[in-house]
């Protein structure tokens, strides 16, 4: 089968002009520069290249090769400036590549922003049509889906109100509802879900999940690893305009974390001042059964989460360390709170939480480290969401809880429980 999108040796070059901090030029600058260059050429015809020193080439994409099959849901991850958005813009035909080629075998809709072209003076109804047209829908198509859009956005009552009077939540809901009614063969989405309230986000995720399941090809860029892992089945990791890793989404997400300066299985906060006037978070670590820092732990292995912190006040505090565990979908799997009733005084401490073996299902987990005290009301000294992460894996050979079933097992937990089955 030919790929629905083939990207061959794609390059995109930008010229960075130093000392000139605006993107668009002014005619005067251009004229004076040309004059200067001419003058320099005249003065020293051989060595006239030093004028170029102000300019620097920057390759936002530097030889990207990628094949995307129909029905694939591909996540693109990478640090800021890795070239993710540039890649999406080239595929969306918004900007032109400098070198290389992209072949698209299907209609593309790109959603690089929610509510592109919304006009504040126009009513919700008018904006649905306008935005739909901008995203490439025909009038007939929009009319047909109009009710569905309005229902999804939950703005029936305000349809004839100018959107400038909408709350930001309503605005985003309407914009997303229009976008999600698109039915292209290839859907390109850039970081648009980082909006709206949690409930609506969930609804959007559900909708996007449907999009993926209906055999459409989806390309998705996000900084939210939980979102990537829950929506995509494959991923590529970009770094400095190149693909450094591609494959299954969990592998690529792990690579993304481990390629960073501080591995998420061990996170040093001593220089980043997390905390308040009384305590400071110093370090967090995930360890496997051999007490080694580990990103990947076997399902039948016990896991230890350690948090080092420092009390910086002379007061006595009744501190309660607590850890939050999130699944890759962003759902909270569970929260664990220390039951110690110690009085803490000025010193360094380590809180350790033991997760028994055979309890968590396979997948990526994110740990939030928190420290609270309840001396005078509730006082959260710090709460670092997504401080650590680890990947629970289950190799089929050593499986203890699958009984021969090789497919994915649903659920957050997969506890090993006692079973009895006998003849009655």
């Amino acid at each position: 089968m030919t790929a629905i999108i083939s990207i061959e040796n794609l390059h995109k070059k930008y010229i960075l002009k130093h000392n000139v901090n605006k993107r668009y030029g002014s005619l005067r600058d251009e004229l004076t520069n040309t004059a200067k260059q001419l003058a320099n050429k005249f003065k020293s015809p051989i060595n006239s290249s030093h004028q170029q020193a102000q300019e620097e080439e920057f390759w936002a994409l530097n030889g990207v090769n990628l094949e995307i099959q129909q029905g694939e849901r591909l996540g693109i991850i990478g640090r800021n400036g890795a070239g993710k958005s540039t890649l999406l813009k080239v595929i969306s035909r918004i900007i032109e590549p400098t070198k290389g080629r992209v072949t698209l075998r299907g209609r593309v809709s790109s959603l690089l922003e929610v509510g592109t072209g919304f006009h504040p003076e126009l009513s919700g109804r008018e904006n649905v049509y306008l935005n739909g047209a901008i995203l490439g829908m025909s009038k007939a198509e929009i009319s047909q889906k109009f009710d569905e859009i309005v229902e999804f956005a939950e703005v029936e009552k305000f349809l004839d109100t100018p959107v400038k009077h909408y709350s930001s939540g309503m605005y985003v809901r309407l914009a997303f509802a229009v976008a999600s009614s698109l039915e292209p063969e290839i859907l390109i989405i850039d970081e648009v879900l980082a909006v709206g309230d949690a409930q609506f986000q969930k609804k959007c995720l559900g909708k996007l999940d449907d999009v993926g399941k209906s055999g459409r090809t989806v390309i998705f860029v996000s900084h939210s690893m939980p979102m990537i892992t829950s929506l995509c089945d494959k991923a590529v990791l970009l770094d400095s305009g190149r693909i450094v890793k591609s494959g299954l989404v969990s592998d690529v997400v792990m690579e993304y974390y481990s390629s960073g300066q501080s591995s998420p299985a061990s996170n040093d906060f001593s220089t980043s001042f997390v905390g308040d006037t009384a305590v400071r978070l110093l370090k967090g670590e995930v360890k496997n059964s051999k007490a080694e820092v580990a990103l990947e732990v076997q399902i039948q292995e016990a896991i230890t989460i350690e948090m080092t912190f420092e009390v910086t006040t002379n007061q006595q505090l009744k501190l309660v360390p607590n850890f939050y565990f999130y699944t890759a979908n962003g759902e909270c799997a569970f929260v664990s709170v220390s039951d110690s009733q110690l009085n803490f005084s000025k010193d360094k401490y380590m809180a350790i939480c033991h997760i028994p073996s055979n309890i968590l299902n396979e997948g990526v987990y994110f740990v939030g480290l928190a420290l609270s005290s309840f001396d005078s009301g509730v006082n959260v000294h710090f709460f670092e969401k997504n401080s650590l992460s680890f990947n629970v894996v289950d190799s089929i050979e050593t499986s203890s809880t699958r009984s021969g079933w090789a497919g994915a097992m649903p659920g957050v937990l997969r506890p090993k429980l006692n079973w009895e089955t006998h003849k009655v």
């Binding site: 595929i91 918004i94 032109e96 698209l104 209609r107 592109t116 047209a133 901008i134």
Partner: protein, 277 residues
């Protein structure tokens, strides 16, 4: 959803899009929606919005009639001076507003251009529609004025559509140039008001162009608005001044050059709009 395998797009550097005009046609609905948006927004603030497109030419006309007709006592060749002025004022006001709307359209729609693909020509083209609506509304004023002064057009009015098309082409051609240049050099945002202010006096808006000495008239017609306004005035007011055809031909040639070079330049720079805007 039907023709999935047939729809193949290849993206390459410097690729001449063979399907460009087909694509433009495919996006015609977007053209209408953008034009519709501009019109809606323009007249959204209820009645006074529509009224402006009448008040502006009316007041300007009155001043011009006073200055050029009463004070300077310029000849009008049998046409009441208010009709003479207004029949020049309408095409001029259309040109001025279409030219500046089109010129600013790309920068004004930068948020869409940097986020969605569509043939960029749609943006300046659709922005001209608002001016066209204005033009038609103020056209009613001219009709009323002509009835008032009992000026009735003869069969020459059949030429009117030709001059209107020429007028639109001139505005679009000039607008495309400025729109594309404006993306890269914001200086052109200042050029437009200047051209409009200056052009009002060098075009035969407030006077009949036959007051220009004969030997300068061909040169004068290099300003395409000269041929257009002359033709416009000639085809609707029953003026007994004969149309200076040589001048119209010069203006037509200039307009054709303007529109072709405008489209050419626009398409050549279109690819980099999203990079620099």
């Amino acid at each position: 959803m039907s023709s999935s395998s047939q729809h193949i797009v290849v993206i390459e550097a410097g690729r001449i899009e063979s399907a460009y005009w087909k694509d433009l046609w495919r996006y015609r609905e977007l053209f209408f929606f953008l034009a519709w948006r501009d019109v809606l927004v323009r007249y959204k603030q209820t009645f006074i919005g529509v009224l402006w497109s009448v008040i502006k030419p009316l007041l300007t006309m009155m001043v011009f009639v006073f200055v050029f007709g009463k004070l300077a006592k310029l000849p009008s060749d049998g046409v009441p001076y208010p009709v003479l002025v207004l029949s020049g004022m309408l095409p001029w006001l259309f040109f001025a507003s279409a030219f500046s709307e089109a010129g600013n359209s790309l920068v004004g729609n930068a948020n869409i251009i940097s986020k969605v693909y569509f043939p960029r020509l749609i943006v300046p083209l659709s922005s001209v529609i608002v001016s066209l609506v204005d033009f038609l509304i103020s056209g009613v004023l001219l009709v009323i004025l002509m009835i008032w002064f009992n000026v009735l057009p003869d069969s020459r009015v059949l030429f009117l559509p030709f001059f209107i098309v020429l007028l639109i082409l001139a505005a679009v051609g000039a607008g495309l140039w400025v729109a594309a240049l404006n993306v890269k050099y914001r200086d052109f945002a200042y050029v437009v008001p200047f051209v409009i202010q200056f052009g009002l006096y060098v075009s035969p808006v407030a006077f009949n162009s036959n007051i220009v000495p004969e030997k300068w008239r061909l040169l004068y017609a290099l300003n395409p608005m000269v041929g257009i306004i002359d033709g416009f005035r000639w085809s609707i007011t029953g003026t007994n001044t004969p149309l200076y055809w040589q001048g119209v031909v010069v203006s037509v040639v200039v307009v054709i050059l303007l529109i072709f070079s405008g489209v050419q330049y626009f398409r050549a720079t279109e690819r980099s709009f999203a990079d620099v805007i």
